[in-house]
C-alpha cells in the first residue's frame, strides 16, 4: 500500500533535521560574520581571525540544534508565542555570551550589546521572511485547489 512507502526511515528523518540545522547554521553564521566584519572594519582592521570564525560556525551549529530541539524551531514558527520568545531570548543570550568570552568584539560592551540587538533583529527578519514565504505558498496552494476541484467536479 502507498501508505507504507510514505514512511520515513530513521536515516531520512535524521537527514531532514540535519539539513535544516546546517542551513540554519549557514544563515546565522553569515549574519554574525557580517556584523563581525563591519565591527573590524570600523576599528580599522581589515582581516578576520580564523579562530573567531570557527567559533562562530560551531556556535551557530550548536544553537541551531537548541532552536530545533528545545524551542520548536521558533524562527520558522507560525506565530510568536511564549516559547518562541523565550527561545529567541535564550539563543540571543547564548550568542552574546560566546561573543563575550570568545573575544569577538574585544570585550567591548557597546559592541556586544549592539550584537545582541542585531541577533534579535536577525531572528525577527527570518521569522517574517518565512511567514511571507508561507503566505505566498497559501495563494499558490489555493489556486491549485480551485483548479483541482474544477477538474474533478462531480
Amino acid at each position: 500500500m502507498k501508505d507504507n512507502n510514505n514512511k520515513l526511515t530513521f536515516w531520512e528523518r535524521y537527514l531532514t533535521n540535519e539539513i535544516g540545522i546546517e542551513f540554519k547554521a549557514c544563515l546565522y553564521f553569515f549574519a554574525v560574520l557580517f556584523f563581525y566584519c563591519v565591527y573590524r572594519m570600523i576599528g580599522g582592521v581589515f582581516d578576520a581571525s580564523i579562530l573567531h570564525m570557527a567559533e562562530m560556525i560551531f556556535t551557530c551549529y550548536f544553537i541551531g540544534y537548541i532552536q530545533l530541539l528545545v524551542f520548536g524551531n521558533f524562527d520558522e514558527a507560525d506565530k510568536l508565542g511564549v516559547l518562541e520568545c523565550v527561545g529567541m531570548a535564550v539563543c540571543t543570550l547564548a550568542y552574546t555570551a560566546v561573543s563575550w568570552f570568545g573575544g569577538w568584539f574585544e570585550e567591548n560592551i557597546t559592541a556586544t550589546l549592539l550584537f545582541a540587538a542585531y541577533i534579535v533583529l536577525a531572528y525577527f527578519c527570518v521569522f517574517f521572511i518565512y511567514k511571507s514565504k508561507r503566505r505566498i505558498d497559501d495563494k499558490k496552494l489555493n489556486e491549485e485547489l480551485r483548479l483541482f476541484q474544477t477538474e474533478h467536479k462531480k
Binding site: M1, K2, D3, N6, L141, N142, H152, K154
Partner: protein, 146 residues
C-alpha cells in the same frame, strides 16, 4: 455464509441473494449489483444508511473503527482507511495522516504551516492538518503529478 457459484453455458445469467436480516456484507453486495460504486453504506444510530461518496467531508479512524463525516451526520463504516482507499480508488479522497482521509472537493481553503505541514479547512469549518509526511504527496495531487 454459504457461497454457491455455478457456471452456465446457456440461458440468462442471474444472482439470487438469500438473507435473514440485512447486514453490511449483504448491503455492500447489493450496492455493487445496483451499480452504487459512488455510494457508501454505514451505520448511524443503529440503522443502516447509504450516502453519496461526494457527501463525505472526511473519514477518521479511531481505535480501529472508521467514521465518515458528512455535514449532517457521522457514519460508522466497515473496514479500514486503507480498504476504503483501495475500494473507492477515487482521486478526490486523499490520505492526509495516519488516521484521516479528506475529500479534497470539500476543502474550502488551504494554509501553509511551518515544517511543511498544511492546514485544510473543510466545509464544516473543521481544520485538518496534512502532516509533513503526506504534504508533498498532496501538493503533487493538486498539481496533477501523481
Amino acid at each position: 455464509m454459504k457461497i454457491r457459484v455455478e457456471r452456465i453455458t446457456d440461458g440468462e445469467e442471474s444472482i439470487d441473494i438469500r438473507y435473514k436480516e440485512p447486514n453490511p456484507t449483504i448491503e455492500r453486495v447489493l450496492g455493487i449489483l445496483n451499480n452504487e460504486g459512488n455510494r457508501l453504506w454505514g451505520r448511524a444510530d443503529e440503522e443502516s444508511v447509504c450516502i453519496d461518496l461526494s457527501d463525505i467531508l472526511y473519514l477518521e479512524s479511531v481505535d480501529d473503527k472508521v467514521f465518515a463525516y458528512t455535514r449532517e451526520r457521522i457514519l460508522r463504516i466497515e473496514g479500514s482507511l486503507n480498504s476504503f482507499m483501495t475500494e473507492t480508488a477515487d482521486e478526490t479522497f486523499f490520505r492526509c495522516s495516519k488516521s484521516m482521509v479528506i475529500n479534497v472537493n470539500r476543502v474550502i481553503s488551504l494554509k501553509s504551516l511551518s515544517s511543511n505541514r498544511i492546514d485544510a479547512v473543510m466545509e464544516g469549518g473543521e481544520h485538518i492538518i496534512i502532516s509533513r509526511r503526506y504534504a508533498s504527496e498532496f501538493r503533487k495531487l493538486l498539481k496533477g503529478d501523481r
